[in-house]
């Protein structure tokens, strides 16, 4: 651990103004200079976070077809392979569907939920308690839950059977597997997003709402005409959070529920990074996808910011 470099504060019984200045420089010597106490955290963060990301970018330009093979410089070869690989484009397609379908649905439903909760209807306290639940549960527990419900003998098919509707192997059918993963995202993401948005809606000025009510605005217009514009910026932040978590961490649910299959029906970009590194051990390829993911994250954040930027 680093020690703050400073002279020990001298207690001079001298003149008060002088003493006060001396005191200020004593402890505050670091003020304005380098924040020495931050060095351990910075080193730690650099070693375990920045280091691997820099390494990822470097490896993306290496040919490294297996952990025991010595890597060689490959220039843009990995990216050339990537852009002509059908699996990569399938992953781009799946990630795009996941986000373009999942994110707007999640944000709109979360907003309506949040709006409902801040009106303080009956049971709103119970609702607030429940909305946090998905945020508490780990990815494996959530996945096991959906695995138990969506498997051919699970709850969903059981309920459908009592209604006389034939079931499906939801996670093993290429037609429904990606949809099932989006449902998991929605289940897990709506509650937390709603809680976050509600925390902003709580702060909306009561007088504005009162005035709108006086003008005869009902709930629907109040929600979209008053609350939405006010909270728009903030909803953008929530959307960005959920966007990043969908784009970067979808690998967990895919790994736990479908392993990218059937075929490439649920291979997302994030899962492709994992699969190429730890299943196929094509390391250059894997990290090249990682770089693509990084760039897409930045581009997506920029787009969301433009779409949900305050208009007035």
């Amino acid at each position: 651990m680093a020690v703050l470099v400073e002279e020990p504060p001298v207690r001079s019984a001298g003149t008060p103004p002088n003493r006060s200045r001396r005191g200020a420089t004593g402890v505050g010597e670091a003020r304005g200079r380098f924040p020495t106490f931050a060095i351990p955290a910075l080193v730690w963060y650099g070693l375990f976070m920045i280091g691997p990301v820099v390494a990822m970018i470097v490896i993306a330009f290496l040919s490294w077809p297996g952990m025991l093979v010595t890597p060689t410089f490959a220039g843009l070869d990995n990216f050339r392979v990537l852009f002509s690989d059908e699996t990569f484009w399938a992953a781009v397609r799946n990630s795009t569907i996941q986000i373009v379908v999942g994110l707007p649905v999640m944000i709109v439903l979360a907003f309506l939920l949040a709006f409902h909760v801040v009106q303080k209807p009956r049971g709103h306290k119970v609702l607030r308690y429940l909305l946090f639940i998905p945020a508490l549960i780990s990815a494996p527990a959530t996945a096991m839950m959906f695995y138990a419900m969506l498997n051919p003998d699970g709850l969903v098919n059981g309920v459908l059977a009592t209604l006389g509707i034939g079931g499906k192997a939801w996670l093993a059918d290429p037609a429904t597997a990606l949809g099932a993963l989006i449902v998991v995202d929605l289940w897990a993401g709506i509650g937390y997003s709603a809680v976050l948005i509600a925390s902003r809606l709580d702060g909306v000025d009561g007088e504005v709402v009162q005035a709108a009510r006086m003008d005869g605005a009902g709930s629907w217009r109040l929600a979209w005409g008053v609350y939405w514009p006010i909270a728009r910026d903030f909803i953008g932040v929530v959307a960005m959070l959920q966007f990043l978590s969908m784009l970067f961490s979808s690998a967990q649910n895919v790994l736990l529920l479908t392993q990218g299959g059937p075929g490439t029906a649920t291979t997302t970009l994030s899962y492709l990074v994992y699969q190429k590194a730890f299943v196929d051990t094509d390391l250059g390829y894997s990290q090249a996808v990682g770089v693509v993911l990084f760039v897409l994250g930045l581009v997506g954040m920029f787009i969301i910011r433009r779409v949900l930027r305050r208009t007035h």
Partner: protein, 284 residues
Amino acid sequence: MAKPTAGTRLRDRIGSITGGTIAWVYAALLILPFYYFVVSSFKDNDGIFESPLALPASWDLSNFTDAVRQASLGPAIANSAITTVAALVLTLVLALPASFALARATGRAGRIVEALFSLGFLIPSFAALFPTFLLAAAMGLFHTRTFLVLLLPATAMPLAVVILTQFMRTIPRELEEAASMDGASAWQVMRQVYLPICIPGIATVLLLNFLSFWNEYLYALVLIGPDTAQRTIQVALPTLKVDAGTDYGMLMAGTLVTLLPVYLVYTILQRQMQKALVSGAIKG
């Protein structure tokens, strides 16, 4: 705003009904799986498939004991607890002095360091899983929970530093100057002036990271691996899912066991936890 017409009134009616319906349908979707889980964890496969929502015939705990034995959940819980607590301590040990320094720094260096930490929110750390794995191997800590204890605080650093720095900024300078006039060293100023005021911030950081450390999956899976003496609960749980012939009652019993500590903390510290989750996300 225009006078309400019959049309808009109808739309408003529909609107308010929609909000309430969405809310309660979603609430039902949050509760139903738990009900299903609890009743299923006392049944065998036949019972689960035939009457998924019926109450179990007997409250037999054998699924729980089987789950704990088959997936070695006992040591897994211990490993998760050790990893989480050690990583939390390390997070504070690193983040507190850093935030203290950043809150007091006025120069350009302070701003640059702070910006560096904020950039961390953009890092797809998971995509860099493979280099992280290489790092673990290079340090000779591959397949140990020790590496996770070292790694997790780094992933938590941006948020922890941002939250704590904000708290420390609220401390009036006079308080610190008074202390320094008394000859206190920077270290003493931090401990005696800054820390007590930061308790709410520290609680937020601890609660948020308790959740994310306890729930950490992919890092734990790849870096600690399958060794039952080292693996955490999140890695142990999915081993109950078998490609052919999963015992669902056991799987659900096991899942409930992993959820227990989190629920316990949430129920006791509901207020603080909710506040932590909201403030943590927004600063991130």
